[in-house]
Amino acid sequence: MPFAIEVKNLKKSFGDLQAVQDASFNAEAGEVLSLLGPNGAGKSTTISMLSGLLAPTGGDASIMGHSITKEPEAAKSSLGVVPQDIALYPDLSARENLVFWGKMYGLRGAALKQRVDEVLEIIGLTDRQKDHIGKFSGGMKRRVNIGAALLHKPDVIIMDEPTVGIDPQSRRHILDNVKALNRQGMTVLYTTHYMEEAAELSDHIAIMDRGKVIAYGAHDQLIKMVGEETRIDLTLNTDGEKVLAAWKATQGVSQINSLDGKVTVLVDDSNRVLPHLFEEASKAGARITSVEIQEPNLETVFLHLTGRALRD
């Protein structure tokens, strides 16, 4: 069975900066694939290439079997793109916006009218369809922003960080929307730097960092990469550089990361290592003010792979 999205050695450079380096991953038809990575990882750049906004420097990708470089029109026809920022005409009504975007996807006449009605229903704005978008709340605009990508019933939909900067309620609404669309058979490529979202939505996750796909797999597979390692979050009463150096040298510690006095340590066996951590702290004259032992999660995986936290 062919992949809905196939990405092969995709590259993009901006001058000297290699924003995307040899990215390769696939999405099976009907699944949700998340691109997870910190700011500047190259997620948006990858998506811009897939949606035909940027020409790749090298490599290729295909949407529903259509190469984005050789048959861009066909690839775009199979694809709905929800931009990271609202991209709508504020001085047109919700309906006028949807009608216009529908036309850009080749819909006309009765079919267009019917589909606009359906989409208004899906995004729950039938009764506000005549109002100008400019007067809408942020959450309502986001819904129209998504709606405009659904008009032509695309096989694949790409969403770039659709939940950035919105309230928890709207976020919930959007996540539910994504799941509903996926249940109807749409393949979804979802980018985020929230690991909870990736964990909740995805069948597969590609983790990106500094332009590279550094891990790919189902959620549980990725967690297993950390092996038996356990993550311990600690807080110190000083910034304690000495303590950190000592901990790093402690046997059984594989990764260590500190941010704002919060320290995250990956260890092979918490029962055995934890006493050593206390011992080294008191030797250096520091005090541990809190300890939490975490089940491994995507954050742990990222830390394990890069030595850095997902969120900076």
């Binding site: 949606s51 035909g52 906004l53 861009p72 029109e73 066909a74 775009k76 026809s77 694809l79 793109v81 931009p83 920022d85 609202i86 991209a87 709508l88 005409y89 504020p90 001085d91 047109l92 006028e96 216009f100 975007w101 036309k103 850009m104 996807y105 080749g106 405009a148």
Partner: protein, 422 residues
């Protein structure tokens, strides 16, 4: 088809932009309307003017050695007896000041103009105490004001002529030459004729000044010179705002780029050339619609006869080509929509000024010359021809110049657009 969809979308958005509507339609009509009201009285012709009854005492005589064909006194006198003012000035001669004063007192006449003996001689000699006396019925205000304006205006002209004459004479003398005495009267006449025209153009000709003072606008037919003057004034507004509207409408591409909708358009299965073409088409429509509306409004509101159908069509099409071409070129230089308004305002006002758009009713040599190098200048040439009633074949040349300018500017701008946006 998508080209038209994109263009229509832009047009709908334009109709919702109060600023654009204001600049495209309201501003040019309002400005022309203000001019019309200011000089609207001219339009009402001679009908509403109160009749002036005037007595003239002309004791002046032409000195034997004066370089003139007639005395100044006679010039002033004949102005009031002229055919052109006969409908509203009834002038009669009186032998001396006493007779005129008696007539004013008896309210037989409203005003009397007394020109003293040897006025020409004294005036030419530069004597300061030579004066023209105006006697008036104290119950009247308008008539005497008008008469005084007319006299002052004429004397200004004569004084100007004298200065010019002296300057010319000194120049010639410095070169060891002499003015041929026989040419002096014709010099004064030419100067006086020029001055009268100049005054007329500046609305200060004696008759027009008088009319401005006196009559409120009435609903009578406009005289032909006034009608054509309104045409000139409005064509300046029409051209300036056509260019402004074109540039402003074209700026929607910068807005779309900033709002993210341009990027979104690029993710749809729509060719980039189609997208750019759709946006250009919208500007084209906008400028054409604006032009037609303003022409029709100008005709019905201000009685302007824009010319023969073929001529005005060529003028309008030339204007459209030039506006769209310059709009594309200008916008391709602008970084963002915030900068746009300022840049257009500045650039278009400059270009408009040096092309003579704001002084369309007067001939200014420098502007005529510079206008040869600006699209605005050529659009103005086209409208002037059309307004003057020239047949369409005389407009083919300016039209071709405008079409060429438009296409060249468009091509340069479009290449820059493609590099930048597509």
């Amino acid at each position: 088809m998508k080209i038209v969809d994109i263009a229509l979308k832009d047009l709908v958005r334009s109709t919702r932009s109060l600023f654009l509507i204001g600049m495209a339609f309201a501003a040019p009509l309002l400005l022309t309307g203000l001019i019309y009201l200011a000089f609207g009285s001219i339009a009402s012709g001679n009908l509403s003017l109160p009749d002036i009854t005037l007595g003239v005492v002309n004791a002046d005589a032409l000195p034997a050695d004066a370089p003139l064909d007639a005395s100044f006194g006679e010039s002033i006198r004949s102005m009031f007896f002229d055919e052109s003012v006969r409908s509203w000035i009834t002038a009669s001669d009186y032998p001396d000041e006493a007779a005129a004063r008696a007539a004013v007192d008896a309210q037989e006449i409203g005003v009397a103009v007394i020109i003293p003996a040897a006025f020409t001689e004294d005036y030419l000699a530069g004597k300061k105490d030579t004066v023209i006396t105006i006697l008036q019925d104290p119950t009247l205000s308008i008539g005497p004001t008008v008469v005084r304006d007319m006299v002052t205006s004429l004397l200004d002209g004569i004084a100007g002529g004298g200065i010019a004459f002296n300057v010319l004479n000194e120049r010639l003398a410095a070169n060891g030459q002499m003015l041929d005495p026989a040419s002096i009267p014709s010099f004064f006449e030419r100067y006086a004729a020029w001055y009268t025209d100049f005054q007329r153009a500046m609305f200060h000709s004696p008759e027009k000044a008088a009319l401005v003072v006196t009559s409120p606008a009435a609903e009578s037919e406009m005289s032909d010179p006034v009608r054509s003057m309104m045409g000139m004034m409005m064509s300046g507004q029409l051209i300036f705002f056509s260019f402004f509207t074109g540039a402003y409408a074209m700026m929607s591409i910068l807005q779309e780029s900033e709002e993210g909708t341009l990027a979104r358009l690029f993710t749809t299965p729509t060719d980039r050339t189609t997208i750019l073409a759709g946006k250009f088409l919208a500007v084209l429509f906008t400028v054409i619609i604006q032009g037609v509306v303003l022409l029709v409004a100008g005709h019905y509101l201000f009685g302007i006869n824009w010319g023969e159908p073929g001529s005005l069509t060529l003028s309008l099409l030339g204007q459209m080509f030039a506006s769209v071409g310059l709009a594309v070129l200008l916008v391709s230089f602008v970084q963002n929509s915030k900068q746009g308004g300022l840049v257009f305002g500045g650039a278009l006002t400059m270009l408009g000024m040096i092309s003579g758009l704001f002084t369309a009713n007067i001939e200014i040599k420098a502007f005529d010359l510079m206008g040869n190098f600006t699209p605005q200048g050529w659009v103005l040439k086209a409208w002037k021809l059309s307004l003057a009633g020239s047949p369409a074949n005389e407009l083919v040349a300016p039209f071709l110049v405008l079409a060429t300018m438009g296409v060249v500017m468009f091509a340069i701008g479009a290449v820059m657009f493609r590099r930048r946006f597509a």
